[in-house]
Symmetry: C2
Subunit: 368 residues, 2 copies
């Protein structure tokens, strides 16, 4: 049964998406050395502006792809043309979507119904409308094509695979709780540490931005939408029909007055005027001997999903988190009062790419 | 590509192996309801003394198998005959080994080379001689049959799958450290809690036995061999050629004088006379503001594997463990200074069976 088949790979990558594109190419290159079968052949790669493709194989080495792409004169194929191109390639194909594009996500049902498998860290496909979610999995189910998205929550941490295993083996997930954002983790571990006093809120946000822990405009982290998207994905996997990431309570940490600030820089400049509110929240928690953290939780029985600030005992695993680590606790019938916990870096190019590469290996084991 | 194939299931189960046999049958029954394809057909089940088999399917419902087995007049097939029987069944077969038998483990290469896939919580196959380890994986590689053993370390916790993903995607695992025994976890969380004083060592051992947390003879936990077997498995997956679970330092918590005690009961009776030694160990740790824990560690670079007592800061995740939970930390190049951590119940029938059922689903996704 050992197979020597060829599997074609197509990659869509938008530069800037957390460096995942470059890291994935590097991991793919190593993979082709370590695992000669099945033979992986890159036949298409594009950014939002440029493309390289050939139905045989790209005549560039994987570690030269970035520069070859930069100097290419080809434009990306429109998605229907890309599907045609991949279908004509004569081998089974895996599409690697290393973007955070809603347009690419919207085309997943089309790719999948054409038998093209997908691996991706793109949250948009699985946290958009519930209809898109249904269309994706029904297309995959009909065609037999696979779709994996481990890195859409917690980067390379085994969060989605673990939840799927719990559900698929018949356990009853009662609650999921955790810190799902590396940015929020870093901010609150510094702002309200379990020992010591921590800095002013606006100063911590500024520091986090300087260290590259936030989006270019920190409001894109502070609005809570990134965490809401991840919660939407997990809630759906746990069996809840969550309509969208805006269909449940999400606490934004952007002061109302700064929502309309013209830029991230203007926002950061004006943020110190609002430090008092966060200081009060911190002090209220301290009075109870607790610390404040930005968490998401899913109560499966009551179907309640929420994202926002909560207080935790200093000895609680969520309070004791370090750096920009994520922590995800699964409370289930089988695991009883002590949850199954996954903890570690939940952001970064290398660990995000690792989730994608791991997914690719899972797909290969099934289609090759 | 959606398949309607039939997959045959054969189960070997020795009663008393942590209740995993019954729990697995119950999970398998639920699975056949939830997932009609591929059709799973039980064609063979045996204990060490009795068997039920039919090349078509067993004419008993899955939840009646235990009682039907008890009243069966058939003896188990000798392993070569079992292989013949399974080969003649006409469909692909998965053998579920829910024993902790070395004899069954020794036959894995024979099953695998005949194309029979294996899922099992049995540690013996993967922690015995290095030659058996090599024979198992080379047989699987040649025939294409699959072999999965998630529950051999940490029960249903995603320990082995996570380590495999790290290695397969090209990460460099530098160190693995943790509490790998539910019994040892319970004993030390009670004996040397992070707050309060804890009981006498012999009293805690007695209590653990009464609560069913130890083997019938607690020395089978206290000798450290169970942890050594798990470390052997993880070290091999991380690339170290560990010859056997006795080829590295393993600290036994059985006083030399009690190694020859005639029974577990005699051992427990005489243990209080040796409490002082453990009290000293506890006090030495307390002087440094630490607590003592029974841990295993693998230093991949120096190829050092060891099992025994170590001291940890009270705020360390290993010190803060609760109940009989396991914790496993993977230090890797990609994850940097903060490890990837998996934590939760690492023993118990239901969660152990869950690991086996999860493995079965992975095998089915590849062979059906």
């Amino acid at each position: 049964m050992a197979s020597t088949k060829q599997i074609n790979i197509a990659i869509i990558v938008f530069p800037g998406a957390g460096g995942v594109g470059k890291c994935f190419l590097s991991q793919l290159e190593q993979l082709t050395y370590r695992r000669p079968t099945p033979k992986l052949v890159l036949i298409y790669i594009c950014t939002s502006k440029k493309a390289l493709y050939s139905t045989d194989y790209l005549a560039v080495k994987l570690n030269d792809v970035s520069s070859a792409l930069a100097s290419s004169s080809l434009a990306p194929l429109p998605i229907p043309k890309l599907v045609e191109f991949l279908n004509a390639s004569g081998s089974k194909t895996v599409l690697v979507d290393n973007t955070s594009s809603q347009d690419v996500a919207d085309a997943y049902p089309l790719f999948l119904s054409n038998g093209i498998s997908i691996v991706t860290p793109n949250k948009k496909a699985f946290s958009g409308s519930y209809k898109l979610w249904q269309d994706i999995f029904s297309a995959a189910s009909k065609s037999g094509a696979k779709v994996y998205h481990e890195s859409s929550v917690g980067a390379g941490l085994p969060v989605i695979s673990t939840l799927k295993d719990l559900v698929d083996t018949g356990d009853e997930v009662t609650k999921i709780e955790g810190v799902f954002s590396g940015t929020m983790s870093f901010l609150f571990n510094s702002f309200a540490p379990t020992s010591g006093t921590g800095g002013k809120w606006s100063a911590e946000v500024k520091k986090a931005k300087e260290l590259g822990y936030t989006e270019p405009d920190p409001r894109d982290d502070l609005n809570g939408l990134d965490v809401a998207r991840k919660l939407t994905i997990l809630a759906r996997l746990a069996g809840l029909e969550v309509e969208s990431p805006t269909s449940f309570p999400v606490q934004s940490l952007i002061p109302k007055e700064l929502e309309s600030a013209a830029s991230g820089d203007e926002f950061l400049e004006k943020l110190p005027a609002f430090d008092e509110q966060m200081e009060e929240t911190k002090a209220a928690a301290e009075k109870e001997g607790k610390v404040v953290r930005f968490v998401g939780s899913i109560d499966v029985a009551t179907k309640q999903v929420k994202v926002g600030l909560e207080k935790f005992d200093r000895s609680h695993p969520i309070a004791a988190l370090k750096g920009s680590d994520n922590i995800i606790s699964f409370y289930t019938k089988r695991y009883g009062s002590n949850p199954l916990i996954i903890q570690g870096a939940g952001a970064g190019g290398d660990v995000t790419a690792m989730g994608v590469t791991g997914d690719l290996l899972k797909v290969l084991s099934q289609i090759a």
